[in-house]
Each structure stands twice: as C-alpha cells, then as structure tokens.
C-alpha cells in the first residue's frame, strides 16, 4: 500500500461506509468520508448517509483495509469466466415434463 491509511488533504483518513437499509438485506457500500477515528467516522456516516432514514445498521471500514485487484489484472481475473457458458443455468435445456423446477 502506497499511502498510509489513505490520508486526505487535511490529514484525516478515509473510511468506506456500508449501510443496511432493512433487516434481512446485506450491507451495501454507499460511499466514503473523512474522519479522525472510527467513532467519529460512524457519526459522520450517520449524518452524511442516513439523514433520510436510509438505514438500520452502519459499518465503517478504513479504506486502507480494503484489498482491491489492480485494473491490470482485469484479464486474468475476469476474462476466463466469459466463455464458460455452462456456468450459467441458461446453458442447460430443461427436459420436457421435468417437474419441481
């Protein structure tokens, strides 16, 4: 990692914000923000992303903790999946008369 904790212009680290909008759904990434520490990041996330009742649960994660693939790795990562048509259910013909599908 090149930048220590992805510090912003004023020295506050960057945090990624995840909101769960309803019980039973998973948390969704909604954006990022700057905050001096985890407790303040959570409070800032509440103000910035849940002002209109968008959520029932909030996660904040230091952006530096996220490991991402490089754009250069796009081909080896994703291309091989494209020609594996048998990985999709539409590849298979459903026999006439098959029940309970």
């Amino acid at each position: 990692m090149s930048q220590p904790a992805g510090h912003g212009t004023r020295g506050w680290p960057l945090w990624e914000v995840f909101v769960r909008s309803r019980r039973g759904l998973s948390h969704q990434h909604v954006g990022s923000l700057h905050a001096p520490d985890a407790a303040m990041a959570l409070r800032n996330a509440r103000d910035v992303y849940t002002r209109r009742g968008e959520g029932v649960s909030l996660w904040v994660v230091p952006s530096s903790a996220i490991v991402a693939n490089s754009p250069d790795e796009k081909d080896p990562f994703f291309d091989p999946a494209l020609d594996k048509v048998y990985r999709h259910p539409t590849f298979y013909d459903v026999p006439e008369g098959a029940k309970h599908l």
Partner: protein, 252 residues
Amino acid sequence: MTAVSTLPPLAAYALALGDDALILAQRLGEWVSYAPQMEEDIALANIGLDLLGQARTLLTYAGAVEGGGRDEDDLAYLRDDRDFRNVQLVEIPNGDFAVTMARQFVFSAYQYELYTALLVSADPTLAGLAGKAVKEVDYHRDHATQWVLRLGDGTELSRARMQAGLDQVWPYTGELFDPADPTSLPGVAADPAALRPAWERYVGTVLEEAALRRPEPRWRSRGGRDGLHTEHLGHLLAEMQHLHRSHPGASW
C-alpha cells in the same frame, strides 16, 4: 404587539424554549460552508435543522396558546430583541470551532435533561415534542461530547483552545438553571433548577475524562429570559429577519 410579559404562562414558557432553539439554530447555520471538514459542516447543519424543527413546534404552540393569531413566522421574524426570551448562551458568537463545541456541549446537555423531564409533562404538546426531540438532542450531546474529548485530550494546541472555549461559555450556563416563577405551570413545565444536578454529573464526567478543567467564572450572565440580551442578538436578528421584513408575506 402584545408585550411578552403579558403572555399566558404556557405561551411564555413555549416561547422561551422555542427562542433558545431558534437562535442556536441560526448560529449553527452560520457555520455552513465554513466548518473544518465537509462532514462536520453537514453535522452542524443537521443539528441546527433539528433545533429549527423544535423551534417551529414551540413557536407555533406559543402563538396558538396566546390566541392572538400570531404564527411561527410572526414570532420569529417580527419581534425585536427585547421580546426574545432565549438565554444569552445561545446568542453569543460562534468563535472558533472549540467555542461552538463548548456551547453545544453545555446547551445540549441541558436540553437533554429538559426534554427528559418534559416527557412526563401534563401538557400533551410539550410531552409529544419532548418524545421526538430527546432523541435528536441525545445525538447533539454525543456529537459535542466527542469533540470535547478529542480536543481536550488531543494536542497541546487543541487542549488550550478547548479549555478557552469552555472558559468563554461557562459564565452563560447559570441562566439555564435559574428557578422558574413558582406560580407558573406546575406539572407542565420543567423546573430549571431541578435539571442542574444531572447536568452537573454529565458535564463533570466528560470534562474529567477529557482532562479539562471545570471553569469557575467570577461573573455570570442574567436576564435573557426577561428580554435582556447581549449586543450580539440584535446583529443576529438583523440577518435572520431582514428578508421577511423587507418582503412581508413573500413565498417561493
């Protein structure tokens, strides 16, 4: 215009609480686009808007109880400074961020105890407002507390400025707890003096954790509830009221 002193006690009480919220909302609005971070900008605006919502309910109620046909806008925009009933704490200038947080810290801690007490008010409007507002104020108090802790327990500079902020606002805290007129509103209003012990416990605990000194001012403000204000309120009202007064009844 009816002098405030002739208002029914319930209208005067709602007006005093509403003016506190209205004037502090206006002060917090002054931070918009100037806060140290965008995130803090939004937080201060949120707190201000919560207070503005409380003010609207309280001023509308004050006008209704008064029965003279004044609505929230008449009360907010067409009174002069001597008719405002807010404590002086909420009208003092924002100062730096530490002063604003010190003011928010002592005021939200007071308002939290106030609305908690009003939850059991015999007046359904006040009890209803308190039920909604106490959750908002719980957050305001927490937000200010987080900053008092971080600035107090931060660098030498942040600590010095946080302490200076507390020293600056502390003389204005006494007004929050001046005993109410004993003839007024038993079971409806919260006796301000009775809110003090819980307030002292809360702010004392936070200051101790932040390693900040509890100020011991040698003077204290008086008179806000009687319409006696600092010179700062007139300037605030000029900015807050000029549009409405220049274009009466304008809407968009």
